[in-house]
């Protein structure tokens, strides 16, 4: 639970990050329902503590890598709200220039070199970035966020071997939300032991309550410490649950995925409500204003995104190749 050793300010910062993600994704859900957002959107509502807890353990120069469900990673690492909304609306001012939509987000200035929706695809890329940091002797860590389904892809296992062998400063964050699209984990494997995924390569594995931002933070901080100390990779299984469906705004109950019971249990374990309860135990005031402030921020970003222009069709062939490499 929420440890007493954390300052109110620290807890407030996590609450704020999680609430920003939650409210932004709720806004996106509405955009999807209205047909305003047309690209496939995978919402992580309910999983906010993982992104917020991990990114709290990182510096701006560390990189994070994600997949199809990465709005939270992007925002927690410091990506701009307006860039996210504009991207989802296919606008030129989007964080990927309107070329990616929800599933392809970038914010190089805060260490997001790209999230992409091929399952497990960015896992070796994160390890490769870590390889670069190690080679250059930089004090940086790469974080790979992936789902429980991604552990079914062979490339992930190859990458764990390489990460262990080269003692790479990479952290594997498995967001185990129990489902890979419509399939429960028990339909995809025989054991509920994802924290053991790296054991074959002697990668330390931790299992934490992914709805407890402090637990996630502490595990990530320990892993980052090992990475920075040259002790190599770690894996953290964060057990959590996505409230919404695999894709889009609905709750999956419409498509025959039987998870109504689970869902209500997990909603009771709302990661934001838990921090909020801790804050109210400390008699922190003004939470409503804080939430209203976040909502104004979101509203402002959304309106700016709406006003932004679409990419002109005439430039559809641009950026296939680059003339000169981007400074990095």
């Amino acid at each position: 639970m929420i440890h007493e050793t954390y300052s109110t300010n620290w807890l407030l910062a996590r609450w704020e990050t999680m609430t920003r993600i939650r409210r932004a994704e709720e806004a996106i859900a509405q955009m999807v329902e209205r047909g305003e957002a047309r690209c496939p959107c995978h919402l992580a509502i309910g999983q906010e503590a993982v992104a917020a807890g991990v990114c709290a353990a990182l510096t701006r120069r560390d990189s994070v890598w994600g997949g199809h469900r990465s709005h939270g990673h992007y925002l927690a690492k410091g990506g701009s709200l307006e860039g996210l909304f504009a991207e989802i609306l296919g606008k030129e001012t989007g964080c990927s220039g309107g070329r990616g939509g929800s599933m392809h987000l970038a914010a190089p200035e805060v260490g997001i070199l790209g999230t992409v929706p091929i399952v497990a695809a960015t896992v070796p890329l994160a390890a490769g970035a870590a390889f670069a940091y190690r080679m250059r002797g930089e004090d940086r860590v790469a974080v790979s966020f992936f789902g429980d389904g991604a552990l079914e892809e062979g490339a992930l296992h190859e990458t764990m071997n390489a990460a262990a062998l080269y003692r790479l400063p990479v952290i594997f964050i498995c967001e185990n939300n129990l489902y890979s699209s419509h399939l429960h984990w028990s339909e995809r494997r025989v054991a509920d032991n994802l924290d053991k995924a790296g054991e074959f390569h002697s990668i330390p594995g931790d299992r934490v309550d992914g709805n407890d931002v402090v637990a996630v933070y502490e595990a990530a901080l320990a892993a980052a410490g090992r990475a920075r100390a040259g002790e190599g990779p770690s894996l953290i299984e964060c057990r959590t649950f996505r409230w919404r469906g695999h894709v889009g705004a609905s709750y999956d109950l419409d498509v025959g995925v039987k998870r109504r019971g689970e869902l209500s249990q997990w909603i009771e374990r709302d990661p934001i409500a838990r921090v909020q309860a801790a804050l109210s135990r400390r008699f922190v005031r003004g939470m409503d204003e804080r939430r209203a402030e976040i909502d104004r921020e979101i509203q402002g970003a959304l309106e700016a995104a709406r006003r932004a222009p679409s990419p002109p069709p005439g430039r559809v062939l641009e950026h296939v190749w680059q003339e000169a490499a981007c400074a990095r």
Partner: protein, 333 residues
């Protein structure tokens, strides 16, 4: 005859194959979900059991390898890839293994594997969820490749693919799922390697692949209104492809447009254009035109998607070029 949609026709072929041949099963990612296969596999798990409709973990390579192993051991599997992009993770079992198996062992072992890949473009999905890379597989000896554009062919080619003793890549396009047409109730095969003449004409030959075959039919209607009599051939099979029908038509009309839903460079359209150019060398009265995707990944935004995907208007325009007719007003605009 009954009318079915393309998706229903695919589903019916699956159902009849599963019902009539105990060796048939389907394996791959997304079989039990409406997100992946649309209605093309709807409720087949309930009708034929999850044991024969095997929705797998996200393991494209192992799922394809498993299917191949089962095929070598006498089954008739269909391995399903809900997007062609994901199938790129399974190139070893498909290209190194399935395609070569018969040859490497001098015909002693058959690899009667059907690989089904769905092209699922547009919808602002972008570069990794839209690819139509059939040309890569058309290049590979030992594979057969089919791409139906009508409900009739969608059913008949799937049944033919299962009956074929070789690995067959069956590619369907979500943009065609709603298209309707007559489909016999009985099981039937559409021969792999034979194109379909969709319209007889004398002025120009339009060769279309998959979705672009449907667009070519529309283009021919437009052209007819302008007094241009186009012959339309739906290639249906990419490997082997019906050189005879295509070349004879090009020799007759002296003009050809190849319309391909894939990229241009080293695409399927290149092969067909090269062969028409060589084999109808004397008869051709204009360079063969190619209507393809531009050499760029798929964008996401609606504005860019519109600029990216060619259609009937582009085919008609290319046909006019072969006839040195002035460009249409919209095209010029």
């Amino acid at each position: 005859m009954r009318t079915l949609s393309y998706a229903q026709a695919i589903r019916e072929a699956h159902a009849q194959l599963l019902a009539s041949d105990a060796r048939v099963f389907v394996i791959g990612q997304g079989l039990w979900s409406p997100w992946y296969a649309g209605s093309s596999l709807e409720d087949l798990d309930q009708e034929f059991s999850c044991a024969r409709m095997v929705d797998t973990p996200v393991s494209e390579s192992a799922a394809s390898g498993l299917a191949l192993g089962a095929a070598l051991a006498g089954m008739r599997p269909i391995v399903f890839h809900p997007r062609m992009d994901f199938m790129l993770l399974a190139l070893d079992p498909i290209v190194n293994q399935a395609a070569n198996w018969s040859y490497m062992f001098a015909g002693q072992v058959s690899a009667p594997l059907v690989v089904r890949a769905v092209v699922n473009r547009g919808g602002e999905q972008g570069a990794q969820h839209s690819q139509a890379v059939h040309a890569m597989f058309m290049h590979v000896p030992g594979l057969k490749v089919v791409m139906p554009s009508t409900p009739y062919d969608a059913k008949g080619l799937l049944i033919a693919a299962i009956e074929d003793p070789n690995p067959v890549l069956y590619i369907d396009d979500r943009w065609l799922y709603g298209a309707t047409g007559p489909v016999p109730e009985a099981m039937y095969q559409v021969p792999i390697g034979r194109a379909a003449l969709r319209r007889k004409g004398s002025d120009v030959t339009l060769v279309g692949i998959s979705f672009m075959a449907a667009e070519a039919v529309k283009a021919a209607e437009t052209l007819a209104g302008e007094g241009i009599d186009a012959e339309v051939i739906d290639l249906r099979s990419l490997k082997p492809w019906d050189q005879e029908m295509v070349i004879e038509s090009a020799q007759k009309t002296g003009r050809a447009v190849v319309a391909d839903p894939g990229w241009r460079t080293a695409g399927a359209s290149a092969e067909i254009a090269a062969e028409i150019s060589a084999q109808a060398f004397r008869e051709l009265r204009a360079p063969v035109e190619r209507v393809t995707l531009p050499d760029a990944p798929a964008p996401t935004s609606r504005t860019e998607e519109r600029a990216y995907y060619p259609g009937a208007a582009d085919i008609a325009e290319a046909a006019r070029r072969t006839l040195k007719r002035p460009a249409s007003k919209e095209a010029a605009a």
